[in-house]
Amino acid sequence: MNKYLSILIITLLFFSCKKEEGCMDPSALNYNSEATINNGSCNYAPITNLYIHFTQTVNASPLILDSMIYTNQANDNYSVQTVRYLISDITLHTDNGTNTLLDEVHFIDISVDSTLTLNIPEIVNENYTSISFTMGLNSSKNVTNLFLNENFFPSFSWPELLGGGYHYMQLEGDFNTVFNGYATHTGGTNGIDFSFNKTFPLEINTTNNIRDIYINMEITNWYHSPEILNFTTDGIMGDLNSQTILQANGIEDVFSVYY
């Protein structure tokens, strides 16, 4: 009797002490509830249907078109009628240095709803901790005839005589009276690259279920900080000074990312 009992106890002890190896993350496809040692074997479903939303604000409120209700820091009243821009090299990064390119070039035209959201059907599961993108096109991309079959051709072309390539942005409206139009057009000018890169922290991973990322453009901020830029009825496409100011103001605080 005693003999049997000891065998039973020993057997039970033996089983309870066996350390099972496996994936211990309940969100993994191969989660092993019996595992007591995480052996790094976890497989995760890919992250699906990530949405990058491109939003535009003036003074932190959603943009209202075609109405001269805004005032910039140079005390010009202005309306906004056209907002079109290129965001390129939209990339997610992880802490261990892997990069996932979401889109090479994305054209946003606020009058075309389908351009306001970029859907990424599927990316590999990773712990993404930041997003970066380029405002405009860097000089390797900003080449005449490179994007002939994209939806921003021909309207975004930048004349050869002014350096070629493409506009980065066409921000247009009226200022002070409806008879005065402004055209804040940025782009590589006379061979100088005015695009700039921005990086923002975020958290996209298999467990937090964050799938909507918002990249906001604060329109007013193009015109001040660090430097005030006045509206003009003359163009600024060949004007290196204006392009330099817009680049600096753009880098400062035009873009923000929330999720």
Binding site: N145, P154, S155, G181
Partner: protein, 363 residues
């Protein structure tokens, strides 16, 4: 007795004939997708011919995107030739007096030198007939963008009461009574009955071949010719924001595939243009940007042909245009305008004339 022997003879003859058919099965092409498929044939004798029109290759010119050719209407040599013939044939009009080419004349870069075209019933339209040049790269057709494709566009003038005023059933009857057309449609599309769908497909194929990329300016870009100082000065004005022509007439297409209100009129608009098509008030007064290629030959200008010369067009922009709620923000100095000097205007016109392609209007 006599009559029964005749009956017997007759029956024997019938039997012989019937037997002949049975004993020697008809040979021919038995493949039902072949052009000479014989449904009575039982033995295939290897004679099948298949529909294989000759592809018509369009080389994409430098600086142009790929032409958007509908997958259900591939370009063929046979289709293009048929389309050209239809384009020039008054058979499409009710009284057989008017062809497409009457209002899209080649010497005028396939447009109408008259401000408004006159239909078969002597009724005038209210817009200037568009030039048909590099039209295969247009994302939509007509000044108001009302037709999405060349095929859809070609349905309209034939039945428009103020244009060719025919009916499609009537056109189909006329074409199907014409042995030559039956043969040509067979070769181009492998159809036995000519219908309106294939008429417009052929016309659209022909229109896609109306390509002009051999102007003096093209030769300049290819390094084959030089611009004069005046032409080059005009080129620079065109591509500066002082002239600011390029935002709408940019690239080697010299159009932006878009719609603008360029400040021609104050409100209310007599012609709503794009707004009539979309129903959006914000599109009122907007019209399709035409290419400036061959602009020297395609007078008069604007959707309603209001300007008879390039000089008048430049003067419009030079004086700044009129305010309306939908005027393009790129008309940046309304009522003031570009303020070009006389020399600058002449230079601009000299440049615009480098976009002329004589071969296109004569060959």
């Amino acid at each position: 007795m006599k009559s029964s022997s005749y009956t017997l003879l007759g029956m024997l003859l019938l039997l012989a004939l019937a037997c002949k058919k049975d004993l020697a099965p008809l040979s021919g092409c038995t493949d039902d997708i072949a052009t000479n498929y014989n449904p009575n044939a039982i033995i295939d004798n290897g004679s099948c011919n298949y529909f294989s029109p000759t592809p018509f290759i369009i080389q994409t010119p430098t600086g142009f995107p790929n032409m958007n050719i509908p997958s259900n209407n591939p370009m063929t040599v046979e289709g293009v030739a048929l389309g050209e013939r239809l384009f020039k044939d008054p058979i499409l009009s009710a009284d057989n007096t008017q062809a497409c080419i009457n209002c899209h004349q080649q010497v005028s870069s396939f447009s109408d030198p008259n401000q408004f075209s006159t239909g078969i019933d002597n009724i005038q339209g209210f817009r200037n007939a568009s030039a048909l040049i590099n039209i295969g790269w247009n994302n939509s057709l007509n000044w108001d963008g009302s037709a999405a494709t060349l095929e859809k566009q070609a349905f309209e003038p034939v039945v428009n009461p103020i244009e060719m005023h025919d009916t499609w059933p009537n056109v189909e009857n006329k074409l199907n009574a014409n042995a030559e057309y039956i043969q040509l449609f067979k070769e181009a599309f492998n159809i036995d009955y000519i219908d309106s769908t294939h008429v417009v497909m052929a016309i659209a194929q022909f229109e896609r071949t109306l390509i002009s990329v051999n102007s003096k300016f093209d030769k300049y870009l290819r390094g084959e010719e030089l611009l004069t100082p005046s032409e080059f000065s005009g080129y620079a004005i065109f591509n500066s924001e002082k002239g600011d022509c390029f935002h709408c007439h940019g690239t080697q297409m010299f159009m932006d595939n878009s719609f603008h209100n360029n400040g021609l009129d104050i409100e209310p608009f007599l012609d709503l243009g794009l707004g009539k098509v979309t129903g959006n008030a914000s599109d009122n007064g907007k019209f399709k940007t035409p290419t400036l290629r061959n602009i020297e030959f395609s007078a008069p200008y604007m959707h309603d042909g209001r300007f008879s010369s390039i000089e008048e067009v430049i003067e419009h922009y030079n004086s700044g245009g009129n305010y309306s709620s939908t005027v393009d923000p790129l008309m940046k100095k309304l009522g003031i305008g570009l303020q070009l000097t006389n020399q600058e205007k002449q230079d601009l016109i000299a440049f615009l004339k480098t976009l002329s392609d004589d071969n296109f209007i004569s060959k």
